[in-house]
């Protein structure tokens, strides 16, 4: 009896120690037959915990990162974690369906959560990160709960070629139905567009007979533009549809310096090109006055009047970005100006404000902050690409786009001083001609001014939210005064710039995104 009493605790201890094993065996047994979700990469099963939620499957990210590559940080602590795929940073908040992929903000079908294996992410997270950056495809098969991961097969992309020679310059346009991932290699005497993941379906072979472009050849992976020895090329992008545009000219005919307006004036032809942009259009009505007048209607009327008067009064070629009530993306408006090698870009708008009492005209040019920020972003992207390994397939296309953006912004920054000068002339003429409150020359990060490769302004010719000004703007005589003021400002701008330049001092560096010209007596 004494022995039994002594051994009873040992017996109990043994039983208790065995209990977890018995429990786990009991729990594990019924789960075994129906296999859980499976993740397969190149035919190999990955140990990735998967949670089936009402919004769809959620996949543990950490084991996927270990298999697909990349770096994960901050996933154990805090509200957000960072995933680095090649040179692209993905910032994700636990419980938040909005993430950033590089500079892009992306919405998810459901927010990432913490779960087994650390952060768990939905399927579209994987597609919008690894899929977009590294070219992986993620095929979820709900019938057997399998996620098949594979490298996306390359697509065949049709490309069309146009070569136009006009006034000593040849423009080569490569048009794609969708945006390809590519890299641009520019060398003396040639330009190559190299596709990174896709294949080209070349156009029907046609002979290029041009004084600046010797030939354009296609292979499945690249387009090569062969130039004559003394030619050089400038390239830019156009959207909708995606186009790569190459302007080829002889080296001697290139503009000397964008920043030297006097020199630029000397080299320009006598006929200047003015692009007028009637603001808004189509479904984008712009502001609507209390009497029901839509901004888009009046801007078109004013632009047409300005076109007619400019053509009568000045030796200029006038191009309108839209001639009817159609919707035109903002980037396409400046693209029209760039394509036409415009000397001036004027976007015509009518204003509205929240609250009562706003009235008068104001003229905007691009804030240097807007230009600088975009340039810095582009430069940063380029630096990242450079240090992470130039030619990384995943972001090379983006890197190239960033480089293009950087070039645009650098070019635009050269035009800021001229834009300011022109804006000052416009505002002065409007103040003098009309009994309007002078709201001054201002700067703002307006999208329509950002891509312009020439001096560019946006002029607000009055507040249609103000009943008095709305009524005036419906009066043809009043509109004629507005147009006359613009014609005079353009005429003064196109004169040799010395006299007017002295009257408009350069702005100090911009502190705010939207700012008034110093000296302007008006509040913002």
């Amino acid at each position: 009896l004494r022995v039994t009493e002594l051994h009873r605790p040992v017996f109990l201890a043994t039983l208790l120690l065995a209990l977890p094993f018995l429990l786990s065996a009991q729990i594990g047994r019924p789960e075994a037959p129906p296999r859980g979700p499976v993740v397969v990469l190149d035919g190999r099963e990955l140990p990735v915990p998967v949670t089936i939620s009402p919004g769809g499957p959620l996949f543990a990210l950490r084991p996927l990162v270990e298999s697909l590559g990349g770096g994960l940080s901050g996933e154990d602590t805090g509200e957000s974690f960072n995933l680095k795929i090649e040179a692209t940073e993905v910032v994700t908040g636990i419980g938040n369906a909005i993430i950033t992929v590089g500079e892009e903000i992306v919405s998810l079908s459901q927010p990432p959560v913490r779960g087994q294996g650390g952060p768990q992410v939905p399927l579209d997270f994987l597609r919008k990160t690894y899929g977009a950056v590294s070219g992986y495809s993620f095929d979820w098969r709900p019938e057997d709960s399998r996620l098949i991961i594979s490298r996306r097969e390359s697509r065949e992309i049709k490309v069309t070629l146009d070569v136009v020679h006009l006034q000593g310059m040849t423009t080569v346009v490569l048009q794609f139905p969708e945006t390809p991932r590519y890299r641009l290699n520019q060398q003396p005497g040639s330009v190559e567009v190299q596709l990174l993941a896709d294949r080209l379906a070349p156009p029907v072979r046609k002979r290029v007979e041009d004084s600046l472009v010797q030939d354009v050849t296609f292979s499945p992976q690249q387009v090569r533009i062969q130039l004559v020895p003394d030619a050089e090329v400038e390239s830019y992008l156009l959207d909708n549809p995606f186009r790569l545009v190459f302007d080829v000219h002889r080296k001697s005919a290139a503009p000397v310096s964008i920043g030297s307006s006097a020199a630029a004036f000397d080299l320009r032809s006598s006929t200047r090109t003015i692009v007028i942009d009637p603001g808004h259009g189509g479904t984008e009505t712009g502001a609507i006055g209390p009497g029901g007048i839509a901004e888009k209607e009046l801007t078109l009327v004013l632009a047409r009047d300005l076109e007619a008067r400019l053509s009568q009064r000045l030796p200029v070629r006038v191009v309108l970005t839209r001639t009817d009530d159609s919707k035109l993306p903002l980037d396409n408006r400046t693209a029209v100006a760039n394509q036409n090698k415009a000397d001036l870009f004027i976007s015509i708008h009518l204003n509205s404000s929240l609250g009562s009492g706003a009235h008068g005209a104001e003229t905007y040019f691009l804030s240097s902050q807007a230009s600088d920020t975009r340039a810095e972003n582009a430069a940063a992207s380029e630096n990242v690409g450079g240090t992470a390994g130039a030619g990384t397939a995943g972001d090379a296309g983006q890197e190239n786009q960033d480089l293009q953006m950087l070039l645009w912004d650098l070019a635009q920054s050269h035009h800021l001083a001229e834009s300011q000068r022109f804006a000052g002339l416009v505002q002065a003429e409007l103040n003098q001609a009309l009994e309007l409150r002078d709201r001054g020359v201002k700067q703002a990060p307006f999208r329509v001014l950002m891509g312009a490769a020439m001096p560019a302004v946006l002029v607000e010719l009055g507040f249609i939210s103000n009943p008095d000004e709305e009524a005036k703007l419906q009066n043809p005589a009043y509109r004629a005064n507005l147009v006359e003021a613009l014609v005079r400002a353009i005429g003064r701008y196109l004169e040799p710039p010395q006299a007017d330049r002295r009257s408009t001092p350069p702005l100090p560096p911009t502190q705010g995104a939207v700012r008034s010209n110093p000296g302007s007596p008006t509040p913002p």
Binding site: L6, V10, L17, R447
Partner: protein, 214 residues
């Protein structure tokens, strides 16, 4: 084995069992629950709250922004402060000083001031526009999502009205929450090139003090 030694063995065995059960619970079905609790704790409202004064920058007559001092119940969390500031801003000027101010533009986006608003200050968006997600990245970029059900686009407007709408949000957040230095605005969950055809909202926006009335 003595009775004392047997007691020790039993105690150790009990501890092992309890530890195993706790580990199993944490790793298994209980882990998900723990994770959800953790995620919820990370949301706005974490920690004790206190009354704190903020300057809310409302659109004002004449085209700029003007501050209205407001006391809000907030926690120490920057996200909580961003959210509370924006919710108060979207609700419109305080009902302390009455004035019948209305938006000048009778578009669908036109928004009357909150009842009894301070003279000249205007609610920036229609009442149906609500605050969605708020996120704050480590580099001080606040992501602010505005939701307007059944409206794909923000209200149509002229440039001054758009500047007032965009920068009342940017300035109210960035000038009140020190952890924020720039703001990315989303509309119905997506970033837009522009809200109303003028300002470039495809990039983070810095606060702009030049719009503030003295």
């Amino acid at each position: 084995m003595s009775r004392r030694a047997a007691g020790w063995v039993l105690a150790i065995a009990l501890l092992l069992v309890l530890g195993s059960l706790a580990w199993w619970w944490q790793r298994g079905s209980g882990g998900g629950r723990a994770g959800r609790r953790s995620a919820a704790a990370g949301e706005a409202g974490a920690g004790p709250t206190e009354r704190h004064a903020f300057d809310l920058y409302f659109p004002a007559g004449g085209g700029g922004l003007r501050a209205e001092r407001r006391e809000l119940q907030v926690s120490e969390s920057p996200k909580d402060r961003i959210r509370k500031v924006l919710e108060a801003l979207l609700a419109g000027p305080a009902a302390a000083t009455a004035a019948a101010t209305t938006a000048a533009t009778p578009t669908p986006g036109a928004s009357a001031a909150a009842p009894g608003a301070d003279a000249g200050l205007v609610r920036p968006f229609p009442p149906e526009v609500k605050l969605g997600s708020v996120e704050l990245s480590a580099d001080g970029t606040a992501f602010v999502d505005l939701r307007w059900p059944d409206h794909e686009d923000p209200p149509e407007s002229g440039s001054t009205e758009e500047i007032q709408r965009v920068y009342c949000l940017v300035d109210s957040v960035a000038l009140n929450v020190p952890q924020v230095n720039r703001v990315v605005l989303l509309w119905n969950g997506t970033q837009r090139i522009t809200f109303a055809g003028h300002l470039d909202t495809s990039r983070p926006l810095l606060p702009d003090r030049t719009l503030l009335a003295p």
